[in-house]
Symmetry: C2
Subunit: 300 residues, 2 copies
């Protein structure tokens, strides 16, 4: 029997889970219907399209959502919790929306802090994944969530201490697509198994303290002098950027890092963290569902 | 009487000077016919279109060019001089092209070094401007040439010691035009005289050691919390980038910096250098013409 319908509704993806009373995933669905795919504010209709059958068959199961669905561009803006929140504080920031049917759906808040660089920083969705990751665990943890806007998060005894966001993935994308470097970036002759060597080379440059702004120009200059084959300039740039992020984010590299994510990017981050003398492990999957399960227990 | 036709032929601009025997500028012309505007390799035709009348009236005056015209994308690729070249070494790297008329035109070489970050670096055209700036001067100089690809150059007793290129202007452009930050960057309500405050704020963040990758995300987060009005996010980003360049390039800020360039960008660099506790002065104009004049004396 489904006791919870958990939804991780992001900018470009919609992920839904049916959970048992014990938090086991009974069923899951995923689509590209992130908030950007919803036109004219028709979020309620999209929800029904995606999981209406689940909702009909389990009329008493709470529907709890996290992610960008609670942002200004989402269904309803839910504020940010601040300070060093644990499960109770994040749960207390949840908002609700009553559907036309009278059923209530819940949306998790975002989390905002003053980051390591002394500037305000924001997350939405990651705080729920973190709750899933640290549920029932005490002690100190460092999390890395690689991506378009990578986040490094510290947690002590179940409370989020703070975090910093790095625009690494997006800078990689715009430099590859729109800078003068794009002309070098052919995949012609690229052999996948050789690519990691050039990724490592970029990480090493970052580790040696290169300025990112001169490092970018160096991609071009090194290709000009055939120090880097053009087919691998993208891999080198990736290493340079991820290495710079790790250099700036992971100052205490004696702490083990728990990476949240999947796919080739996670492998590259793990490799780079190791190159900095650190240790990285991979978190379980479906952490959003696990975090929403914890939040849902607080509202019952 | 014209004794030299000097041409600074760059990627997007063509600047020509008629110089007297003493190096005085008698006349000058400028157009947007940089090498990108020349189709099908018709550089000789373009030269005649631009300064054919000068060439006809002074058949014995050398025609000497510097800049991207000597690059692979230009008229003829002229190699790079290396090491710590002065006037004689740069002049010895010049190449010549014989026109159909039999007249010879000269092209200055580029200059390549291993930069402060240990990577190969290249310039084309700037070395000639530097020659113009240090002609007849001994002592140590630090030059800053702000722009799309800013260069920081050190010269001792007329010899170029080395330099480092920073992709500052281009990163500013791609982040403004193509990143998620573009959505914030309205000019609506922006008051020019207030902008410098936000530029300074970005410089201060860089000075405090902020990571550029987190600083980029901070533009968005600070705007979200109304710490920076959206109309000034571009100014703040400009300060963040220029400040980061200066932090990484200008480690010995007791040396006076001579800036080569003109316009509002030079004013911003001067302001930021001062904020780092350094001193900046502006070089004379028409340094390319002055440098080519020095080179031309070597070939006569």
């Amino acid at each position: 029997m489904t006791s919870l319908i958990a939804i991780d509704w992001g900018t470009t993806s919609f992920r839904a889970y049916r959970l048992s009373e014990q938090g086991t995933i009974i069923d899951k669905r995923q689509s590209a219907n992130g908030i950007l795919a919803v036109e004219g504010g028709q979020f309620a209709d999209m929800l029904v399209t995606q999981v209406g059958d689940w909702m009909d068959s389990e009329p008493d199961a709470p529907v709890v959502m996290s992610g960008m669905i609670g942002s200004r561009q989402g269904w309803q803006e839910i504020g940010y919790v601040t300070g060093q929140p644990g499960l109770a504080e994040i749960a207390s920031g949840m908002g609700q929306i009553a559907l036309d049917s009278g059923r209530v759906v819940w949306i998790a808040p975002g989390y905002s802090c003053l980051n390591a660089d002394g500037q305000p920083d924001v997350m939405r969705g990651e705080e729920t994944q973190i709750l899933g990751a640290v549920s029932g665990k005490s002690g100190a943890y460092t999390f890395c969530l690689p991506g378009t806007h990578s986040k490094w998060v510290t947690v002590v005894d179940g409370k989020i201490n703070g975090f910093t966001t790095f625009m690494t993935g997006e800078v990689f994308y715009v430099m590859c697509q729109h800078s003068i470097l794009r002309k070098l970036m052919t995949d012609q002759g690229r052999i996948e198994t050789d690519a990691v060597r050039w990724f490592d080379d970029g990480v090493d440059k970052a580790k040696a303290g290169i300025s990112l702004l001169s490092g970018f120009f160096g991609v071009r200059a090194r290709a000009l002098f055939a120090e880097i084959p053009e087919a691998y300039t993208k891999d080198y740039l990736s290493g340079l950027l991820i290495g710079t992020e790790i250099r700036d984010a992971y100052k205490d590299n004696t702490t083990e890092v728990t990476m949240i994510g999947s796919g080739p990017l996670i492998e590259l981050y793990g490799r780079a963290i190791k190159s900095f003398g650190g240790q990285a492990q991979l978190a379980n999957e479906n952490l959003a569902a696990a975090g929403i399960y914890q939040l849902a227990k607080e509202i019952r």
